[in-house]
Symmetry: C2
Subunit: 261 residues, 2 copies
Amino acid sequence: MIGIFDSGIGGLTVVKSIMEQLPGYDITYFGDTARTPYGSKSSETVVGYALENTEFLLKKGAKIIVMACNTVSSVASDSVADNFNIPLFEVVTPATEKAVKSSGKLIIGIIGTRATVKSGIYEKKIKAIKPEAKVYSKACPLLVPLVEEGWLKKPETVMIIKKYLHPLKVRQIDTLILGCTHYPLLKDKIQRKIGKRVAVIDSSIAVAEKVKDFLETHTEVDNLLTKKGGFRLFVSDITEQFEKTARATLKRNIFLEHVKL
Amino acid sequence: MIGIFDSGIGGLTVVKSIMEQLPGYDITYFGDTARTPYGSKSSETVVGYALENTEFLLKKGAKIIVMACNTVSSVASDSVADNFNIPLFEVVTPATEKAVKSSGKLIIGIIGTRATVKSGIYEKKIKAIKPEAKVYSKACPLLVPLVEEGWLKKPETVMIIKKYLHPLKVRQIDTLILGCTHYPLLKDKIQRKIGKRVAVIDSSIAVAEKVKDFLETHTEVDNLLTKKGGFRLFVSDITEQFEKTARATLKRNIFLEHVKL
């Protein structure tokens, strides 16, 4: 099946997009809720967690792995690729490619966790395609806890979004990458505050499209994937909050299985 | 020496109080920054972490242990006491005793993490002393990330504090327990929003006073403690953010030592 992991709940936006793009494919998800969040931790620690999470999913029978977390994709995807010989997807490249295609002025903004922004990976990848692009990044570390709390529509959340987006707005970006899989849950508010003329690129949709394209051209891998509509959801810590948000995000009944890594 | 641990940075307010109450005592601190925060995780997970942290400090030579975290004190202190035979201090009891003494009307409010509030431990301990007391609790899960971000004076932080305190204010509490070691860093703002007539009890000061009292009456334990003014600071993940906030909280130079648990 398709193995997907994240530091916690954010990667469920990727699960949702993959379920829409590839209906019926069996999916196993691991959310590292006992060690969440990753975005404010060091690269060394995040790499260690990413290797453990990948190994867990492979043991469960994953044939391809999606790292549904921008922090992991930014700082740990090379290490995971070096250690495991399987088709591996990260969320940064698909979003980058989509942003470059969409941007007319090539003035692109990125929001993400502190670790993602510090890695500079979006800027590097965008400039590798279009060296003339102007790229502005802003770390938004409070958006993850606000999403995890379910404060999706509170005025305080809107104020904080406005404050974070201000430096990108004055740069007159025409494209904004949501460089964290939690942020699609705030997409409406972000679109309103950055302005309706700015194209907002959702990395969870971009990676799902990428996986679909890959499987269409790699039938030998596609044949390894079972398609019985199965969905297993493992977490390293079971909390009511996760259960509630997971149900709301996926709009289906879920059953959490506990695993200690 | 005195061993002190916390999920991350909050316990440094306890270190600061103990340094003030017991100047010169050697202290070793462990901040579990690779797995922080604890407050939104399950009791089972927090108990496991607390046992590992205690064991680490004992190996380093701690003769007494202070659990400088309300979440750990609320859900894991019995398990730690069952597993280790040493003088053990938690932050809930000292704050409770101080609050009951201070409260004229016996209408007491408590703010803390989701895990601390859910445990109901403050209410139980207050009612064990004064069954007639009225106790109102409010979980404030966003205050920890706001403190960790250093947003101590931002208007958004003040708005969120006001929103959290509102249900306690309408109950006309006369005493408010800061049931999380992060909150003393927001004490001014909290005092302003709850009103100057409400006594605000800081659990980090209360536990330091308790440790001092204990050592004065238990000289056989006090004699085991070295007093060379040493301070070692271990963390499970090294980040710039931690270093910056630690230096600001303790107002001294610090050197972080990394340890993987």
